[in-house]
Amino acid sequence: MDIWALLVIPLIVSVFIALVTRKNEELSSYLSIGAVVIGFLIVLPYLLKLPGDPHMHPIEQAFTWISIKGLKIEMGTLIDPLSIIMLFVVTFVGSLIHIYSKGYMHGDPGYSRFFACLSLFIFSMLGIVLSNNLIMIFVFWELVGLASYLLIGYYFEKPSAADAAKKAFLVNRIGDFGFILGIFVIYYATGTFNFIEVEHHIAAGHVSSGTLTLAALLIFCGAVGKSAQFPLHVWLPDAMEGPTPVSALIHAATMVAAGVYMLARTSFLYAAAPDAMVIVAYIGGFTALMAALIALAQSDIKRIIAFSTLSSLGYMVLAIGVGGTGAGMFYLMTHAFFKALLFLGAGSVIHACHTNEIWEMGQLYPKMKTTAVTFFLGSLAMMGVFPFSGFWSKDEILSATFQSGNYFLFAMGILTAFITAVFISKLVVVTFFGDKKYHGHPHESPKVMTIPLIILSVFAVVAGFAGFPGLEPNFGTFVHTAGAALGEHGAHAEHHFNFMVASLSTIAVLGGILLGWSIYSRKGMKSDVMAERLPFTYKFLENRFYIDHIYDTYFVAWIYNGLAKILNYIEVNIIIIFIINGSAYTVRQIGKGLRLTTTGQLQNYAFVMVGGVLVLMIIFAAIL
């Protein structure tokens, strides 16, 4: 029962805020925060029970939602270690971000609307995590898309925000199209939507490998959209138009992780389709590397973090692709902590400086010590410096990649780690230590914003020990109980701490830090030196490989000029003139004609009545 409460409370709160307490901003924010904190308290007992019972039996509660002949769709919840961990991440990080938002959004005209959307988002996200079948996950998947549309377009009066929201929504739809096709393929092959039943069908070998590969790739399309992988990654950087807490909640900790979670949830499918896994791994690795390179040439603090998020998501997908589901989920969890921390820290900085441009900051450390220190810790975790959480989780991914025997991907991973270290150190150095370039008087943010930062930084530092190799049971054990039945080869990688891999990645990271530090800590730097030394490369990276440009020129232009014109013609000439105006005209003419029958002459009506009786009599006589 408590699990359903977890799902229903945020929904009720969201509707309640939207309909009732909209005028009362304080109450709205407390309701919304209360909903997600209650969710966290509901999840907590499950999480605490987990270490004692790592091989827990999945708890499934379901009722039939749609039942027609040949099709049965359930609404249900599935509680297993995987969903418990994800629930913990969503509700815990969500709670902190809600509390932070209370301070950050203070005085905003749409304060209540913001919290209503946040609660709607939490509801849909928990729906994805809890769902026990593919249709339900798809429904909530789309709800998350809606909530994120509302939140990205929160400043909808700003054209760029409205465009970004539209872009995010549309790009996600492309991926979702593949997702639902994949769901259909699975249903066609197994006759059920339920995860556990599908898993049994596949384990029993009822499904041919070609079908499995097709289904796996199509479902991966959904993850590509939601988790912003290579061809569809373009929406995520633009989504930074939303308020910073939104970026932290949606575009770092939870929504983009939904794609990875979904892949982990269907990992049995990927384990049975090795061909699909290779493609997944390459897309993940490529996204990681590309995003890291692009991040090098950005100067907007939120965009840098956004591209680092892309890179991290690439890492997670890479992990799934090489069979390291546990490693991917572990990275997802630690990433949620340190990336939320970085975003919230960035929000605090933006709150103080009123600009996103890192070249207009600098020397902020003395002014805002709490933010700076927590941000610094988050950066170390992000880069993966021993013993911060990022180190352990990244190491697991790298060693899983190494053990899968794909050394090219492994090299990409190490290179990504190196580049990440470079641009994160650039970010930290330029923002907090470089020359003073800000205007006005930045000051530390209020307590309601800094306390979540401190809590998150603690987790960013220590969460990695959940995957400490000496620990038994450690993180990998929980996540792997589900997939272990299929003998996933990634499972072996989790338990063996590979010293060679760890030292290689540490060397790469330290090298990156040194390089970044040495370039960007020079005095008197007004803008990026890279732009002067390597103008062509810089331009290329700054424009994000021209991918957005290509999309705009070819696809979008084609759609605007070709498809849109045809549709516009159809709409104007056929729908509006013929169907809408035509039906209205017809109805009006009929009405004009029928109006004349209302003569006001009593005896005309009597006459018609007698005529009607006559007709009835004739019909009666004809029948008998």
Binding site: Q601, Q603, N604, F607, V610, G611, V613, L614, M617, I618, A621, L624
Partner: protein, 177 residues
């Protein structure tokens, strides 16, 4: 013998009915209607229902027709001119009436009595009033009450409708003078 009486009554009834709808003076119409209704009362006697005949005479001839005549007097309607006499929809209306006439005739000609007979044969109907009274106050008590309520409502409604609104009447008088 009975047949003879029936034909007399029927003939008078039809002729007076035609006169009701065709004479121009409303007072004459009312008198012809009285004649017609009396014939109907006589027919009720032929149908072994003296109670109905009495009711017909009391209520229709006695009350309703007096009401009609009263209304005609109050409204002060004289003889009508020909152009005011026939409704403008007369042509289609006559067509429909003839069609209706033919149709009903055809239906009656085709009709057959197939319902089973009840218990009230000629002997039972000898105590006509008593039998009707018993039925009315046992089997039909609820409709009877409803109808009496309806009469009450009609009574009050008629009074309310006809009663002059004092305030409006005064205003009208003021405007007239």
């Amino acid at each position: 013998m009975e047949q003879l009486f029936f034909y007399i009554f029927a003939l008078v009834a039809v002729v007076s009915a035609v006169l009701v709808v065709s004479v121009r003076n409303a007072v004459h119409s009312a008198f012809y209607l009285i004649i017609c209704l009396l014939q109907v009362a006589a027919l009720f006697i032929l149908l072994r229902s003296p109670f109905l005949a009495a009711v017909q005479v009391f209520i229709y001839v006695g009350a309703v027709m007096v009401l009609f005549l009263f209304a005609v007097m109050v409204l002060d309607i004289g003889k009508e001119k020909t152009k005011e006499f026939i409704h403008s929809q007369w042509l289609p209306a006559v067509g429909v009436i003839i069609a209706l006439f033919v149709m009903i005739g055809y239906m009656i000609k085709r009709g057959k009595l197939s319902a089973s007979l009840g218990i009230y044969n000629e002997a039972a109907l000898a105590k006509n009033t008593e039998v009707i009274g018993k039925t009315l106050f046992t089997q039909y008590i609820f409709p009877f009450e409803v109808v009496s309520l309806l009469l009450l409502v009609a009574l009050i409604g008629a009074i309310v409708l006809v009663m002059k609104d004092k305030g409006r009447a005064r205003k009208n008088n003021g405007a007239g003078s």
